[in-house]
């Protein structure tokens, strides 16, 4: 039935919370379906033996036209949902796209990430403020963190710290905020 493939895209994006691999095949099939519907409509209009005003003919054409619009809407919703998730990556993980995400994104989504990054940086530069830090209201000045991976030397405002796996450190919140977000450090909540 018309529009089934487009709806399958929506189902796919609804069921995953992360970004599923870009479904280029299905999109191509939807484009072909749209092209076929479009050609059908034009064929009907150009056919000298068909009376376009006949209700049955007109009905068919309206169904085809509406199917094209539905396909367009579904695919745009799919692309938009993915785009928003890519956008979220910039805010959570920083200006560089991590390796694990690169494969699942289309070429255009890579381009989108880069351009989004550029525009965000331009805005932040105009205001001279980094909006991706201080994402949560500060509770204390220094926080207790445990290191989850061997990270090595890390520069803080009070000197360098050597971050080793499973060691706990008492560090200034501002310095370690982005490491906590990336998962290198874990915030230890005191009871």
């Amino acid at each position: 039935m018309h529009g089934d493939k487009a709806v399958s895209l929506l189902r796919e994006i609804k069921r995953t919370r992360a970004i599923p691999p870009y479904n280029e095949d299905t999109i191509r099939q939807v484009v072909q379906e749209v092209q076929a519907l479009y050609n059908d409509i034009h064929q009907t209009l150009n056919d000298p033996e068909v009376v376009a005003n006949d209700p049955s003919v007109a009905c068919g054409m309206i169904v085809q036209h509406t199917s094209i619009l539905r396909n367009k809407r579904c695919v745009l919703a799919y692309l938009h949902a993915r785009m928003l998730r890519v956008q979220q990556l910039r805010w959570e993980l920083g200006p560089v796209l991590l390796e694990e995400f690169k494969e699942g994104l289309s070429h255009q989504e890579h381009q989108f990430f880069r351009s989004y990054n550029t525009h965000l940086n331009t805005y932040m530069k105009t205001l001279d403020v980094n909006l991706t830090t201080d994402m949560e209201p500060p509770k204390e000045l220094f926080i207790e963190v445990r290191c989850l991976q061997d990270y090595g030397e890390y520069q803080t405002e009070n000197g360098t710290v050597n971050l080793q796996e499973n060691c706990q450190y008492f560090l200034p919140r501002a310095d370690v905020e982005h490491l906590v977000r990336r998962g290198v450090l874990a915030h230890v909540h005191s009871t």
Partner: protein, 225 residues
């Protein structure tokens, strides 16, 4: 210890141990409290409100000054270091406030970019950098959709702002969202529905659909809670 005495220890009106008199205290915190309310309003309101340019600029200047004062005194004695920590916390909190205000606005701008650019009243509420950002975001959106999908479609189906039977492609804020608000200035009789009015007195708290409250909020006669 040098003159850190112009700032108070606790943002929320705690003990003023540094001899700050009443008036000065109001001035310092007046701006913070106003921006705090603007921040809450912005977070709870479905549409984009007017940019508080003066407040943001002034507070950012204060942040810079206080931060500089703290770093310049970083080699102070142990007890002064304690006090310096409190000043640092205050700076951190104000910094968070300003950034969160800007972030909340930016998120709304991204969500309603095309609508904001097309509606003159909303466009006026954006700051110049926000306006530029909205324009580039819309362009980014358009080119992304075009390259990923739309360019493969027949010519008549390629646009992004069509209206197909009452459903517009441009996302607009939902003015029918309910909001809680407190009345800050006496308003008197207010029409909440055609033919139905309620008397809004100062201090009252109500919940209502946002649509009719636009003017009241803009005139600062109510604040969202």
């Amino acid at each position: 210890m040098s003159d850190l005495g112009q700032f108070d220890l606790d943002n929320a009106g705690g003990p003023s141990t540094l001899g700050l008199d009443e008036e000065e205290e109001e001035d310092e915190f007046g701006e913070i409290r106003t921006l705090q309310q603007a921040w809450v309003d912005e977070k709870l309101c479905p549409e984009i409100l007017t940019y508080e340019s003066e407040l943001v600029d002034n507070l950012r200047e204060q942040i810079e000054n206080q931060q500089r004062a703290i770093t310049e005194n970083s080699d102070a004695s142990v007890e002064n270091k304690d006090i310096a920590n409190y000043f640092q916390m205050e700076v951190d909190r104000i910094r968070f406030l300003v950034k969160s205000y800007l972030r909340t606005r930016l998120l709304k701008i991204e969500k309603y970019a095309l609508y904001a650019l097309k509606t003159a009243t909303v466009r006026e509420r954006l700051s110049q950098p926000e306006l530029e950002y909205a324009k580039s975001y819309v362009n980014l959106l358009e080119s992304h959709f075009k390259e990923s999908f739309l360019s493969a479609l027949p010519q008549n189906f390629r646009n992004l702002d069509s209206k197909e039977g009452n459903l517009s492609m441009i996302p607009t804020p939902n003015f029918n969202t309910h909001v809680f608000f407190r009345v800050t200035e006496p308003v008197g009789d207010f029409e909440i529905a055609p033919g139905d009015s309620v008397s809004f007195s100062q201090g009252d708290i109500y919940i209502m659909r946002y649509e009719r409250l636009q003017t009241l909020l803009a005139e600062k006669k109510i604040q969202l809670i």
